[in-house]
Amino acid sequence: MKLRVDKKYMPIVATIAVAVLLYCMIGFIYPKFFSLRVFVNFFRDNAFLGVIAVGMTLVIITGGIDLSVGSMIAFVGVFCAYLMEKTKLNPLLVFVLALSAGSLIGFLMGALIHFFKAPPFIVTLAGMFFCRGVANMISLESIPIYNPTFNAIMRFGIPLRHFIMVPTTVLIFLAVMLVFLYIAHFTRFGRDVYAIGGSPQSALLMGLRIGRTKLLVYTLSGFLSALGGIVYILNVPAGNSLAGVGTELDAIACVVIGGTLLTGGVGYLAGTFVGVLIQAIIKTFLTFSSLSSWWTEIAIGVLIMIFILLQRSFSQLSVLSRAHAQVKLRKPGGAETGGA
């Protein structure tokens, strides 16, 4: 049977196929892996990562990168916890403030990147130091959150079965995913993001507003990582300045595993979604497997490697990917000298 998939969608199809394969293989070893609870937990445990990875996808598609996201979790967590617990502000107001602060930091990083042509890697690395630094300055000690409104939001969820429910965090993640799928594919801004990553020089000459788009992308990434921070404290109700260490690498991994190219221009939010699930599967596998500390890291490395290699060979198996496009040129008279 010939697999007829457009070359464009091949990476994503391969990703999904390998993800399913991985899921089944692990489920074969640990039957409880297939339970609904575990499946829901994939999302619960990684909702914050998912939200962040969405922003990261956009940034990477423009050809940039955002290393500040992990620290942003810490900053937003401490910021919210401090305001809710120490100054007793209304949680919703606090969320709005946190999201604004996150967006502002994102915007400032975007401004440095766009106006001063500074490399995103370094600017966001500075952002990473900065966010965690501010978190440290607000409070070195972690602050537990007991605010009743906050707790109500945290406990809210759509019950599926006894004691299993889809909580707010997962709903936020799914909503963000859908909204940004729409933005990426059905708005001019979304297409501009792809164009900028594909060829910044050309995008400029084509009359696209590069500056605006870039600023917006980093602002959105700031916003989403702040939202990720809120989702994080809805999962771990405390403000802790050490939270989210290394999350930027997890997020980048989700994005690139999903088929997005770090060089920009090519990427899929749906792929990122699968990438998050893959991470979830691998992490959950680790909690099932009782591996000792050092085997854990080896297992992570080996599993991702197997995944990448399988993904690559799947994409290469696809038939259509090599064939050249055909051009038809009609002669002015109307007769065709058409391509075969």
Binding site: D192, G198, S199, L205, A325, V327, K328
Partner: protein, 504 residues
């Protein structure tokens, strides 16, 4: 000339780059409903003038008026908003997006606030149809050859309803038929009252389409002419600042093909690759120039890529001096004494951040291996030799190649391959974007190289060029080699006829 109500006028525009005055107090005006050709040698400042006009480059001084109002565009976006639609030199599109998106990027049709992909795709088909081109608009732009991409860029620019249209060497890769189609559209737009700026190095095209001509030389305005009352010789003389006599046919072709004693260098049997080129045979003698003729997308570039080991052949074999050889990579090809000057200089030719010097001796160095670095002195000598030989206009050899004008970049790339002293030279559109004088230079070079015994595969969309230089011409259509002609058979109309009728 009547100075009545210009759409655009530019006064005393100056712009300098480190070491060069790209523009020096240039005046320029464009009337409604006229096609103005902008002419000049490579590096004369044409593209820079256009970039200043559209806000890509900041001018050092001077003023710009559009419809009598002073404007000061700072980005191509602003220029577009003002009604200036531009095709820049080199294809400036997004290879990772589809053809349709490339045509509509930034102005996609929407319905209820969200992009209407269906409508966009069908409009894209319509826009291409105007240029008589039928593509699968849902495919990625990078799936198509450079020439097709150039057409897509034109389709994008033409599709906007603008006040004026700027075309910077849009036809450099196109063959006669596409150019005809483009001109038809230009005439239509002109009738609608658009002003059009048209840059090209093809004199025929200038006399065919333009109403007026502006000539730049060394960044200065030399003069404005009405096309109808100007002759070619005049024009060339103004451009180059000296009389050019070699316009007549150059030295006759060398030894006639299949002359007794002609040694065969390369023998190709049934070489093919699915979706790219059907099995074909080809033979090349030492010191022979073989032209490849065909329309856009006929598969000429494919043949070149196969021979040079960029693409791998799926069947057939190549023998060099009677010995079967497997050429599986450009490195192997170079080791066999091959050289290929690629068609797409932007993505396959220039190494933008490196200097002209480095770009020129790169292939030679690569063939010598990494260990034996060519001495700085020799590097400089090689670079300077070719800078003079091909009259590359640059203050010195250490300028980054990406800062050269398009035509000069092309010359530097040609120089890279000449420096290699190959025994088999494949030239895929080597004269793309090169001015008249240098084109003549390169053609003469081809002939003299062939006299030195170097075999050359010569691909060009300009049939006259192929006819002039080749001893034999292979004709391609739709990825199939349909025939060969040699000696006195070679003539433009015969080839055109061949392509149209086909001999299958």
């Amino acid at each position: 000339m009547p100075e009545a109500d210009p759409i655009l006028s530019m006064r005393r525009i100056s712009k300098s780059f480190p070491g060069v005055h790209a523009l020096d107090k240039v005046d320029f005006a464009l009337q409604r409903g006229e096609v103005r050709a902008l002419m000049g040698e490579n590096g004369a400042g044409k593209s820079t003038l256009i970039k200043v006009m559209t806000g890509v480059e900041e001018r050092d001084e001077g003023r710009i008026f559009l419809d009598g109002r002073e404007i000061d565009p700072h980005s191509p976006h602003e220029a577009q908003e003002l009604g200036i639609s531009t095709v820049y030199q080199e294809v400036n599109l997004i290879p990772t997006l589809t053809v349709a998106e490339n045509i509509f990027l930034g102005r996609q049709p929407t319905s209820m606030g969200s992009l209407d992909w269906k409508k966009m795709n069908s409009s894209a088909v319509a826009a291409l149809d105007r240029l008589n081109l039928e593509l699968n608009v849902k495919r990625l732009l990078s799936d198509y050859s450079l020439a097709v991409q150039q057409m897509v860029a034109i389709a994008r620019a033409v599709d906007v309803s603008a006040k004026m249209l700027i075309l910077d060497e849009p036809t450099s890769s196109l063959s006669v038929e596409e150019v005809e189609q483009l001109f038809a559209v230009m005439r239509m737009l002109k009738a609608e009252g658009l002003g059009i700026v048209f840059v090209t190095h093809f004199l025929d095209q200038v006399f065919d389409i333009s109403d007026t001509i502006t000539v730049l030389r060394g960044g200065q305005l030399v003069g404005n002419f009405v096309t109808a009352s100007t002759t070619r010789v005049q024009l060339i003389a103004t451009m180059m600042g000296k009389e050019l006599k070699e316009l007549e046919r150059g030295p006759a072709r060398v030894a006639s093909p299949d002359a007794p004693g002609a040694e065969s260098l390369i023998e190709i049997k049934g070489l093919a690759r699915k979706g790219s080129i059907e099995p074909f045979d080809l033979r090349l003698n030492k010191g022979e120039v073989l032209g490849l003729a065909g329309l856009l997308g006929a598969g000429r570039t494919e043949i070149a890529n196969l021979l040079f080991g960029i693409d791998k052949a799926e069947q057939g074999n190549v023998s060099i001096e009677g010995e079967e050889t497997n050429i599986s990579s450009p490195r192997k090809a170079i080791a066999e004494g091959f050289a290929l000057c690629p068609e797409d200089r932007k993505s396959a030719g220039i190494i933008g951040d490196l200097s002209i010097r480095e770009n020129i001796f790169l292939a030679l160095q690569a063939s010598k291996g990494w260990f034996r670095l060519i001495s700085r002195k020799t590097q400089q000598e090689i670079a300077e030799r070719y800078i003079t030989m091909l009259s590359i206009s640059t203050p010195d050899a250490d300028k980054k190649i990406k800062e050269l004008s398009g035509g000069n970049q092309q010359k530097a790339i040609v120089a890279r391959w000449l420096a290699l002293h190959p025994r088999f030279l494949i030239l895929d559109e080597p004269t793309r974007g090169i001015d008249v004088g240098a084109k003549m230079e390169i053609q003469n070079l081809i002939l003299s190289l062939s006299r030195e015994g170097i075999s050359i595969l010569f691909i060009s969309s300009e049939l006259s060029e192929v006819v002039r230089c080749s001893q034999r011409v292979a004709v391609l259509r739709d990825h199939v080699k349909i025939g060969e002609m040699s000696g006195d058979q070679i003539d433009e109309s015969a080839i055109m006829h061949y392509i149209a009728e086909g001999a299958r």
